[in-house]
Symmetry: C4
Subunit: 243 residues, 4 copies
Amino acid sequence: MLKMNETIDQKILNDMKYRVWQANLALEKANLVVLTWGNVSEVNRELGIIVIKPSGVPYATMTAEQMVVTDLEGHLLEENALKPSSDLPTHVYLYKHFAGINAVVHTHSKYAVMWAQSGRDVPPYGTTHADTFYGAIPCTRQLTQEEVETAYERDTGKVIVERFENDNIDPLAIPGVLTIGHGPFTWGQTVNKAVENAVVLDEVAHMALFTEVLNVKHDLLPNYMLDKHYFRKHGANAYYGQG
Amino acid sequence: MLKMNETIDQKILNDMKYRVWQANLALEKANLVVLTWGNVSEVNRELGIIVIKPSGVPYATMTAEQMVVTDLEGHLLEENALKPSSDLPTHVYLYKHFAGINAVVHTHSKYAVMWAQSGRDVPPYGTTHADTFYGAIPCTRQLTQEEVETAYERDTGKVIVERFENDNIDPLAIPGVLTIGHGPFTWGQTVNKAVENAVVLDEVAHMALFTEVLNVKHDLLPNYMLDKHYFRKHGANAYYGQG
Amino acid sequence: MLKMNETIDQKILNDMKYRVWQANLALEKANLVVLTWGNVSEVNRELGIIVIKPSGVPYATMTAEQMVVTDLEGHLLEENALKPSSDLPTHVYLYKHFAGINAVVHTHSKYAVMWAQSGRDVPPYGTTHADTFYGAIPCTRQLTQEEVETAYERDTGKVIVERFENDNIDPLAIPGVLTIGHGPFTWGQTVNKAVENAVVLDEVAHMALFTEVLNVKHDLLPNYMLDKHYFRKHGANAYYGQG
Amino acid sequence: MLKMNETIDQKILNDMKYRVWQANLALEKANLVVLTWGNVSEVNRELGIIVIKPSGVPYATMTAEQMVVTDLEGHLLEENALKPSSDLPTHVYLYKHFAGINAVVHTHSKYAVMWAQSGRDVPPYGTTHADTFYGAIPCTRQLTQEEVETAYERDTGKVIVERFENDNIDPLAIPGVLTIGHGPFTWGQTVNKAVENAVVLDEVAHMALFTEVLNVKHDLLPNYMLDKHYFRKHGANAYYGQG
C-alpha cells in the first residue's frame, strides 16, 4: 500500500512529522485541549503531502512517528499508518480553497467553543484582537441535515470557505473561524503560526465574553485602531518584532 | 471478620484496588477535586465485589492498599478495612440498576456543581457535549425530607435511577447526572471511562454556563448534529479513534 | 524586652511557629493569596501566647523563625521580632470572643472577596457549602468612619463578633465570615482546619456566584439537606471520614 | 553608532538590564502575559538612559543582554541592538511627564484588558484595590484617528497624562491606567513595584468584574475606608510591612 513517491526526501517528511507532533503537544501545554480534543496538520503542496495527528491518541504517549501522512485528497500514503484525525476532510478542504495557508489547527478550547456554541462572531473589541485578526472572527452557518449526514467533515470545511467567500474575508487577515456549535479552526503560513493563532483566538474570545458583561453597549474598536494595530504587526509597513 | 470468598484471586483484587486508587488520583490531577471531595469505585459483578475509596483520606497519602472492598450490598469484606466513602450506598444502588456500568465517579467539580446547585439539566449546546452525552445531562429532583433522613445516600441513587427511568434515558448514552444541590455522578464500562466522563461533564458544564451568557436565546445543537457527533464516536458505525 | 515567661517550653513554641509558617505557605499553594495578602495565627490559651505571620514578608523567603509571638493582647514577647501582621488586632479580638477557636486565617482570596465587595452573605446553595458551613456565610456591616479612624483592625473583629452575636450564629458551626469591602476571615480548632475552611469558603463563593447566574430565582438548599450534610460530617452522629 | 557616554559604569547598566529582564520574566510567571504581549522598562534619569524589552522576542529565549538601551528620547545607544518594544514611545512620554516614576510595565493581562475594552474606569470596590490604588483606575479617552495615524505610541502616553492632569490624579497614588481598547500600563519607583502594580491591577479588575455581577447597585468602598487602607500602606503613617 505504499503509494507515496519513493523519491520524497525522508528528511523533509520526518521534519514535518516532528513539527506537527510538537505543535499538537504545544496545544496541550497552552491549555487549549482536554483529553484528545485537538488536531494539527501541515501541508507541503509541492510534494503533495499532508501530515496530521492520528485520531484519539493521548498526547502523553503520542510520538512523532505516529503522525499520519496523506496525499492532498486525504488518502493514506504509508503502510500500517494509524487512522488520521476524523477532522482530516475539513483540513483537506481548507488547504484546497485557502491557497496561502500551510497548516491548520482545530481545538475545543473553552472560550472559543462558548462563542461557537452561541453562534456568534467574536467582535473586535480591542487591540489584542486586532493584532492578529483584522476584523470579527466569523462563525459559520449551521450545516443542513443533509450536509451533516452526507459528508460532515468535508462540509464543515465548505461552510467555512462559504462564509469567507460570501463576506469577502481574506483568510490570511482573519486566520481563524468558529464552526457553529462545534469550535475553532485556525491556520497560518507555518504550523507555529497556526498554533499561535489558536492561542490568540481563545484569549480574545475570553476577553470579549467579559467585555460584553462590563459594557452592555458592546462598543467596537474604531476602524482606524483596528487598522493601526493590525498593520503595525502585518504587511510591508509592520514595525513590531525583529523581522 | 474475613467474609470474602478466599478463592478470589488476590491478583484480580489488587489490580482493582490499583485502578481505583489511580482513578482517584486522576481526579485530583484533572482539577476536579478539592480536599477529599471525590470518590471512585469499580465493581466486578462476577466476583461480587466493589472496590471504593476510603472516606476522608487525603489524596497525598492515600495508598492502593487502603481501597475498601465490599460485596454488592456494600458490606465490608476485609478485616481492618478503613471506612468506605460515605457515598457508597449511592454507588451500590447505581450498580444494581444500571446493568452495563462497571465504575462510578462522584466529584464536587466546580462547574458541574454550579448546574446542580441551580437545579437545571445541562442542555446540549455543542458537539463537545454531544461527543460524550447523547442529550441533556439530567438533574435529579429534590429528595424529600423523609428520604434524606431515612437513607440519604441510597435514595440519592434512587432519584438518579428514577429520572433515567421516567425519561427513558439510557445510562450508557448519557453516562452522568447531576444530583440537585449536590454534584455530579458519572459512570462507565471502565474506571478510566468513568473518570473521563467526569472530566467531560465539568468541561461542558463550564462551556454551557457562558454560552448562555453570550446567547440569551439558548439555542440548542440541532438533533441531527447531536446524532452525528455522538455516533461518530459511539456504536457500530463509529469512526473516531483507533478502535 | 524579653517579656515571655522563660519557663515556656521552647519546643511547644517552635512547634507553633512551624505550624503557623506551614499554614501560611499552604494558603499560597492553594492559590488563595497573591503577593503577601494573607495571614494565619494560632493561639495557645493556657500559655497565653499567639503566633502570627510577620507583616509584608514574601512567602518565598519567609521562615518559621520569623513568625511573631505575642501575648493574648497582641503585645510582642520576643526581642528583635519582626512586626506582626497589621491584622493582628482582629485575630486578638476573635480569640477573646470566640472561645472555641485556636487559629484564625485571613486572605484576599478572589471569590470570597467578590462577595465581600458586594456586601452580601454567601447563601447556602449546595451541599459543598453545607458540609462545612451550617448556613449562610455572613457579611459584616460597614464600619463607621469613627471605628475606621480609631481602631480599625480591632473593630473589624468587633463587627464580626457583633454579627455572630446579633444573629445568634455559632462560630464553630459557621467557621468564617466576610468583612464588607475587605475579605474573608476563617477559623477553627486547629490551624489546619482554619486553612481548610479558607479553601472551602473561596470554593463555595465561586460556585455560588455562578449558581446565581444560572438560576435567577436563587433557590436555597432545603433546610433538611443543610442539616443532613452538616451533621454527617460534624457532631456526635457524624459518619464521614475515618475519625 | 555607539552614542552612549563611555563613562557610564557598565556595572550599573548590566544591573539595569538584569532587573528589566527579570521583571519581564516575572510578568510571565504571574500569568499576566501570553506569547510576547508585555514589556517592562526602567529609567535612570541621572545617567539619561532607559532599558526596555526588545520587540517580539519570546520569554523562553530572552536574555539580559538583549535588553535595549536608549536615551531619554528613545534613541538607541548600543550598536547591534535589537529593536526595542514598539511601545517604547509610550514609556518615554510617561517618564517625561511623571517625574516620580522609574519603571513602566505594559501587559495585555486578561481582566485589565476586559475593562480597557469596555472603556470603563475600574471602580474602587474594596480594600484590595485601596491598598494599592487610591481611587478608581482611570481609562483613557479614545485616541483620534489623527493621533493614531501620526504618532500612535507617543499619543498613547499623551492621553494617559492628559487624563491624570485633567482629573488631578497623582500618578504615584494611582500607579496604573487602562488605555481604552488596548490594556493596562502600570509604573512605580522601582521595577519590582511596577510589576507588583500590574499584578494588583489585574487581580482587582477580576474582583471588580464579578463584584458587579453580584451587586447590581455597584456600591463603592466608603471614602474613609479608601483612606484607611491606602494610608496604612503608604506615606508617613504607614504601618504595614517591615519598612
